[in-house]
Symmetry: C4
Subunit: 229 residues, 4 copies
Amino acid sequence: MDALDKKMQFSNIANHLSQVAREFCQRGWAVGTSGNFSAVVTRDPLTLAITSTGIDKSALRAEKIVQIDEQGNSMESSLRASAEARLHLMIAGELGANAVLHTHSVWSTLLSELKANQGGLSIEGYEMLKGLRGVSTHQHREWLPIFENSQDMAALSDLVKAQLRQNPNVHGFLLRGHGLYTWGGDISEAKRHVEILEFLLEVMGRMVGIDDRGASAVAYEGRLAVAKR
Amino acid sequence: MDALDKKMQFSNIANHLSQVAREFCQRGWAVGTSGNFSAVVTRDPLTLAITSTGIDKSALRAEKIVQIDEQGNSMESSLRASAEARLHLMIAGELGANAVLHTHSVWSTLLSELKANQGGLSIEGYEMLKGLRGVSTHQHREWLPIFENSQDMAALSDLVKAQLRQNPNVHGFLLRGHGLYTWGGDISEAKRHVEILEFLLEVMGRMVGIDDRGASAVAYEGRLAVAKR
Amino acid sequence: MDALDKKMQFSNIANHLSQVAREFCQRGWAVGTSGNFSAVVTRDPLTLAITSTGIDKSALRAEKIVQIDEQGNSMESSLRASAEARLHLMIAGELGANAVLHTHSVWSTLLSELKANQGGLSIEGYEMLKGLRGVSTHQHREWLPIFENSQDMAALSDLVKAQLRQNPNVHGFLLRGHGLYTWGGDISEAKRHVEILEFLLEVMGRMVGIDDRGASAVAYEGRLAVAKR
Amino acid sequence: MDALDKKMQFSNIANHLSQVAREFCQRGWAVGTSGNFSAVVTRDPLTLAITSTGIDKSALRAEKIVQIDEQGNSMESSLRASAEARLHLMIAGELGANAVLHTHSVWSTLLSELKANQGGLSIEGYEMLKGLRGVSTHQHREWLPIFENSQDMAALSDLVKAQLRQNPNVHGFLLRGHGLYTWGGDISEAKRHVEILEFLLEVMGRMVGIDDRGASAVAYEGRLAVAKR
């Protein structure tokens, strides 16, 4: 691929990523400059297009997307990527994902606290699960691991990598008090995964407020029975 | 009707459906490529315009609406309809509906779980009910059946058809853990039915969170007494 | 005022009303063709510009606003006003309001049920109350009456009129299971009143979910004590 | 700086402030003409650009931003600033903030009531806290003071000033039953602070509804333990 082609490919990726970022910001999933969005530009060596750090996503333009190398350093821009770029690179390298999207939503934050002691969240019996890659029935149990949040990105990346190797079928994970990571074969699939998981987290979060009082215990048991058939 | 007229009619329908889909996606009722929206193009034989499967509704264009025959097969496009097209065809054929809209909302998902054991949801005493075709007073009791979700569309379609024959006055139904189906004499009426039912489901869903603690027991009894007068 | 001036005035009012209607629909306060919005065109005789019945507010254009006479009949258009136009005419005539806005929101519907047995809702101690005409401190107690809903508009209008004469200082009222009516000296003031009251109803509605468990009893008592000082 | 430069600087500030105001209104944080937004134009003497009082923020244009002097009087416009301009001037003068943003949200109103008796709100352990100036880890405890609301702006300003001198590291405060004040080195930073604090207030507010029932007591203790390590 010659230089012009590469530039056009990067430009297309950057446009797509910035459009997704604006839409997610509007939905309240990337306010206050939170959230990081990336996609693979080249595989060998691995380089990513990724949102630069500290940028307001509400009016994000493609110019604020930077290309980074395998060490997470900006290749041509004075803009820096977030320290979390390391997690994006690990996921892209380890899982072969071509896009990694990380959102900060109210419901993911809330559930990541409430369910932290269980180490994760089990989501099953919902039609929406079929929007996850490779899932073809609502009778699926999705395990969404929750990791303790950390500012030590090297340690966190290693911890997550070890878990993902043990659970290669997960479609995302939560960082406690922090947010959601998910990915996909391309930006559109990763976007779909964000929307699916955020939708299900909202359903689960609203259910907790009712369920903890036992009000829906019967309904829940019924659902689990169906899902386990 | 000659070929050009047919094409223009399909084009108008496709434009209207895609506009409704974008608006519903923006409201959070069709995220993650969920939801299917259809309208009758011809009655004899029955053909539908319907959203193709796996499409992001946030920027849906009319080009992603396909025309399907009575077996649910695409007539001129390489795009496929969802397997749920079978339910759309059944509703259009059985009830004479000219538009069928299927949404995935947080509140319909939540209530379809909480009320599954009762087999449905009773909604009464609300002014908003008057937005449903043929309802002229808030003193109306709307029964919204809930069916167990299934991936066997033939079986599900037969089950729903049998129920609709017994309850021909319902304006919609829920699939458990899945979402809402409603319909109308045209796209505008079906859209109105979605908005009415989603509004009432949100009211009922928020009420459950309060009512289960008995806080509003008195208020509820009063309402039912009024509605039953 | 000559004919052309009258036409321009009506046109300006119709544009303003339709803009407010679209914005309220977008906020979820007028979905499913619900809601009616009016403003006085002439005082003697009393004529109103009002949204025609059964119209989707999401893309409402000024052409769907009709002018009605004191009996609620359309003056020049084939479009009809809602039967609730009678309430708009009564409020405009009785209170001298130049704009009357009626919304259907989730929170007004929910609270109108929960508080129906008390005959109304007391809102006090909030800064937002200062947005209501004539209120200059948060230490104000606003009484929002709740009336049983009815399809007999003549009877309902007489009932509300009698109450408004006894409580001329209220800024709005709720119809049970139905929605909010408020008004103002012009469209902008009435719009402000809708936004203020809907905001406070959401605060009160969310508080009920917490307060009924006694969790905020102390906080509440403190607030009331402050407000009563 | 000559007169033309000054005018351009004011114009840029006014455009930026009005854009932020429209966006916040759309998010429901400045409805019903509520909210005030300001930025420093000159330091010596201190003058601010600030939204004029009683203006609908949904379509705010730069023309509705006025320049005020140290006494809060409009310098060239017939439009007046809100009485709360005094608080903006105090914060800009006392803390060296170049932008002060004041929002009225449902969650800030609700929490300011529920936590008033504790004199403030403690927020800790959330990644979003890193969006606050000078905070570099989620293991941070942010104290958000709550002051009794008052219409006596001189007294309120003195009270807040005294507290800010004792707690110079806070990033904002709540007025009870009223709303949030926050600030920053420029408009973008202050906007980020609003988004961060409103996000965290929503998380806390939704958690209260669950936590007060003890459902998440264990999870909470876990979180605090982590944050205190």
